[in-house]
Symmetry: C2
Subunit: 326 residues, 2 copies
Amino acid sequence: MQQIADAAGVSTTTVSHTISGKRPVNPATAARVRQLIEQFEYVPNSGAVRLQSGRSGVIALAVPDIAHWYFGRIARGVELAADAADYGLIVCSTVNADPRREKRYVNLLRTRAADGLVYTSSRSNTDIDDLVRHARTAPLVFADEAVPSLSEVPSVSSTLAEGARAAAAHLAALGHTRAVVIAGYPSLASTVERRDAFREFFPRALTLYGDFEHESGYAIVSDLLANGVTFTCIFAHNDLMALGAIRRLREEGLRVPEDVSVVGFDDVDVASLVSPGLTTVRKDLVETGRQAGKLLIAQLEGEPEVESVVLPVELIVRETTAPVAG
Amino acid sequence: MQQIADAAGVSTTTVSHTISGKRPVNPATAARVRQLIEQFEYVPNSGAVRLQSGRSGVIALAVPDIAHWYFGRIARGVELAADAADYGLIVCSTVNADPRREKRYVNLLRTRAADGLVYTSSRSNTDIDDLVRHARTAPLVFADEAVPSLSEVPSVSSTLAEGARAAAAHLAALGHTRAVVIAGYPSLASTVERRDAFREFFPRALTLYGDFEHESGYAIVSDLLANGVTFTCIFAHNDLMALGAIRRLREEGLRVPEDVSVVGFDDVDVASLVSPGLTTVRKDLVETGRQAGKLLIAQLEGEPEVESVVLPVELIVRETTAPVAG
DNA sequence: CTGTTAGCGCTTTCAG
DNA sequence: CTGAAAGCGCTAACAG
């Protein structure tokens, strides 16, 4: 910057202000300075800016696993919001709630390497004590899964109950009466919400809890079959478990959807790739991330009160649901 | 830090050195200082450290789309390496080679917000002029796809030719003679390499070029069928195109693998989830990212010459390949 | 083994 | 409209 100032015959103060626009600068001078900046390809040193201003222009994102299709989409959304507001995005995977990892993003905030945090909780329940302690230090937003004990923290979530009702209504309309719910972790609010909404249509639905992975859908259906449970439809709390369930049903010689109808949740990419295409409830995860990013940045930019957002979901009917057999 | 120094009755210099260990400190003093640091929960301001040292402790990753299963895995690997070496990871999606986006990660390097860059090129050919210009400013590593014109830049890639040969040998051993290759962009070295290696076994194989998406596998098979081309096996350059091909074959009433055998490439998660399970060549993308991250950090830490890495691939035989019919 | 001093590159009072 | 000067929090000579 000194270099620019010298070349333009002005002080660094003026250069600084032509860049920031925080005070009037003679148009002629400004033009000259800008031209020099272009010419020297000058960019301000981010460390110096940060030291001076106390802000890094970077937000952090904590997700269980960036490589996961589910969280990857959220990350994409947050990045979209960050990019739009000219913020950088630093990601931290919180695999298995490893305490060393947890410490990592907390430190990011404490050292001011990031100005705020978008946190997507692991599906299992982690303790979030550190978060609580630092929620007051730096702005925080929850994406996808709000944390009930921290209701004052803004969050972005979806109308899960609506989605569960839509799925249930769809199945009921097809004449199904005997349903099984392959649910998520019972400790999550999102699980309870969907389970209960579904039961409004199928009060006697059997609920079994999985871990959101393909394998657990498979295992749950195995148990069901081994115990001679009869059912004509399955509502799974995510697509992977739905797919695992379908695999097991097929191995048993049961056809989907002729013998059993299956509805998933999320509408991850694979739902439309498999055949038959999976009927599911679409959750807009990219938008979830984007809204979370926007909420965080709004706080950073001094917005006094930011409101939590609840996004709509949509039932996508594909090929795994059909009228109940004779 | 001043606060710690005052409380411990020493100078900030001493505090600084107890933290960094760059010069001997009286054990008693050191202990006292450390205790105070603990007590005050002191963490050094990253902006100040950066300004002083000129290094940010952050590496950047440029990928076409962080939400994509393919690139997400690479990102995971890079993050693993970054975390292990206590670096932060900042991600930049380079969607559609949007010039504004391209500028973003270049600026990250120029402003010294990141110390180096892991670059995973988009599958289509982007011009990488800016990269070339800044490859000299900050360390750079290519992950997954090396850029031929920049052979001096270290890269991490896979033994693609080996993989193509393994796939071809497998199909040949099953008695297949009429093969179709659903390839990637013809402009990519990775496409040429696999196509040519496959032809060592199937010299007359018909090669058609797709765009790595599900839809293009589907469309290519449509064309094949419409033109009455006969074939008993397909080698696709990625799993998505393989899946698209399978979908189209099935619509035509052709059974996989009874009528047509299909081999994919990459072994993305979905390959094992679909039924029948997809026979494919596994590329270890997480490891690709991890090695790329390690290479970059090695350069950052002053390693003089870092060598490019080539990772092995592995043929995973599942259920979409079978002996040729009749 | 430790303290003093001088910046790193920028922004921002405070005076013109 | 502009400049001089004082730091932001830290590290690294350079003396003790």
